[in-house]
């Protein structure tokens, strides 16, 4: 009689591939990434011409770690003010268009429901945060996006809109004087616009880190559209 083989530790089968991102989402995601880099780089070149926020002579808006400082050459696009303006006012068109296409997609398909952070998500956000702080051991069930992600992605869309709106407040302070006044005037609107840059940059860094650390499968999903990872949707 042969001894029965020692049962091996069961290996879970690889997760089933799930269609996650429509091609419109993927296209606008990557386009926005590239265009945003261009907008920021040309913006930094524009900033160089008047490296402070506030009327001539002050008082200046703070904090501004870049008061009187320029940015390194590799971070700037345009070569000089005229070149930077031309890049900025060219890239803004596809940047706004991509954003509009994405927002339209969310509304038309109803996908906004899996993305928009709403008051009912506060409880879930707290639970997710407990999980990340290791207060809670098990991962709360989630939909396509967990509540913290919903918060981040809702916020970043609003930030995108804010960066465009403050941009127009700076671009046309006489024709849109009511808009510029809404932000506290030309220099204040300029300061708001810059804060959007810092927050975008911070988001970009955290977003990329989290993708690689938490769920690398989501990167592939954002390229091919198919998700084969650890966090299937319970939507």
């Amino acid at each position: 009689m042969t001894a029965s083989p020692v049962p091996k530790t069961p290996v879970s089968p690889p997760p089933k591939a799930v269609k996650r991102h429509h091609w419109i989402v993927r296209l606008t995601h990557w386009l926005t990434f590239v265009l945003l880099l261009g907008m920021i780089a040309s913006g930094l070149q524009i900033y160089t011409a008047y490296a402070r926020f506030g009327e001539q002579g002050g008082p200046y808006y703070r904090p501004n770690p870049f008061q009187e400082h320029g940015f390194p050459r590799w971070s700037k696009l345009g070569g000089w003010l005229a070149g930077a303006l031309n890049w900025h006012f060219t890239l803004m068109w596809p940047f706004i268009a991509a954003g509009a296409v994405y927002l339209s997609y969310l509304v038309v398909t109803g996908e906004w429901r899996s993305l928009l952070f709403r008051p009912r998500d506060i409880r879930g956000a707290i639970e997710m945060q407990k999980y990340y702080l290791r207060i809670r051991k098990d991962h709360p069930p989630q939909g396509k996006h967990n509540p913290l992600q919903k918060f981040a992605y809702t916020f970043i869309i609003l930030l995108g809109v804010l960066s465009v709106v403050t941009g127009f407040a700076i671009y046309k302070p006489t024709q849109f004087s009511w808009l510029t006044a809404l932000f506290g005037g030309f220099q204040a609107a300029r300061y708001w616009h810059f804060w959007a840059v810092w927050i975008f940059t911070g988001f970009l860094i955290v977003h990329v880190i989290l993708v690689f650390v938490v769920d690398p499968a989501s990167l592939r999903a954002m390229i091919t559209g198919w998700y084969r990872g650890r966090f299937p949707s319970h939507d």
Partner: protein
């Protein structure tokens, strides 16, 4: 991978020349012309006035820009005249006193420099529209060219912006006659465009059918430059 994409693009852009180089710059300039059109035809309004401010909010010091190696100063200010010519029924030669006797506009507005700074000042002068009336501007005129004695600095304006009620030939700033540091004896002023469009150290105003270039515009800065 994202870093790779960004790095790759940065290298491409760097290789093109940061201002776009010969391959991309023409496209950027074409879009600039499109933005000019949007600014002129869609966003600009002949009736919309720029907000005005209390004189207490005036900026204490305004920078002084000129392209000559030294500040342009007239050797013989009394001999200075403004030439009004081009597509007009009656070319004019006007002294400062002639201009001061014409209809006068005064306002305290915010100045916007393309560099990103802004400043509040009061300007006194004669509307360009009054000049156009006085010389009998012809209907074929579509543009106005402003020339200076600051190393030939000049530029051109679209007619609608030139005829805006707040577009003036200014001979006084704040509480004084215009100083050499700000374009004496006469400069163009309007809160509807960026500072570089407002030629200082004026010598002539010419009405044309062809679109004039400009010192900064020819180098790539926006031509319409409306705010």
């Amino acid at each position: 991978m994202a870093l790779g994409v960004a790095g790759g693009l940065s290298s491409i852009v760097a290789a093109c020349g940061w201002d776009g180089g010969n391959a991309v710059r023409p496209l950027l300039l074409d879009v600039s012309r499109l933005n000019d059109w949007v600014g002129e035809k869609i966003l600009f309004s002949r009736n919309r006035l720029a907000p005005q401010y209390d004189v207490a909010l005036r900026t204490p010091r305004l920078p002084s820009y000129f392209i000559s190696p030294m500040m342009p100063v007239l050797q013989d200010p009394k001999a200075w005249r403004l030439q009004v010519a081009g597509l007009v029924r009656q070319p004019l030669t006007l002294s400062i006193e002639d201009l001061q006797a014409m209809p006068r506009t005064m306002y305290t507005v915010k100045h916007h420099c393309v560099e990103g700074w802004s400043a509040i000042a009061t300007w006194h002068g004669v509307p360009v529209s009054a000049i156009a009336d006085r010389c009998g501007m012809l209907p074929q005129a579509r543009y106005v060219r402003f020339d200076s004695f600051d190393s030939g600095y000049s530029n051109g304006w679209d007619m609608a912006s030139a005829m805006h009620p707040q577009t003036i030939l200014a001979y006084a700033m704040n509480d004084n006659l215009l100083a050499p540091s700000h374009g004496a004896p006469l400069r163009l002023y309007s809160p509807t465009k960026l500072g570089y469009k407002m030629t200082k150290y004026l010598v002539s105003v010419t009405f044309t059918a062809e679109r004039p270039g400009g010192y900064w515009e020819d180098q790539g800065y926006p031509w319409f430059a409306g705010v």
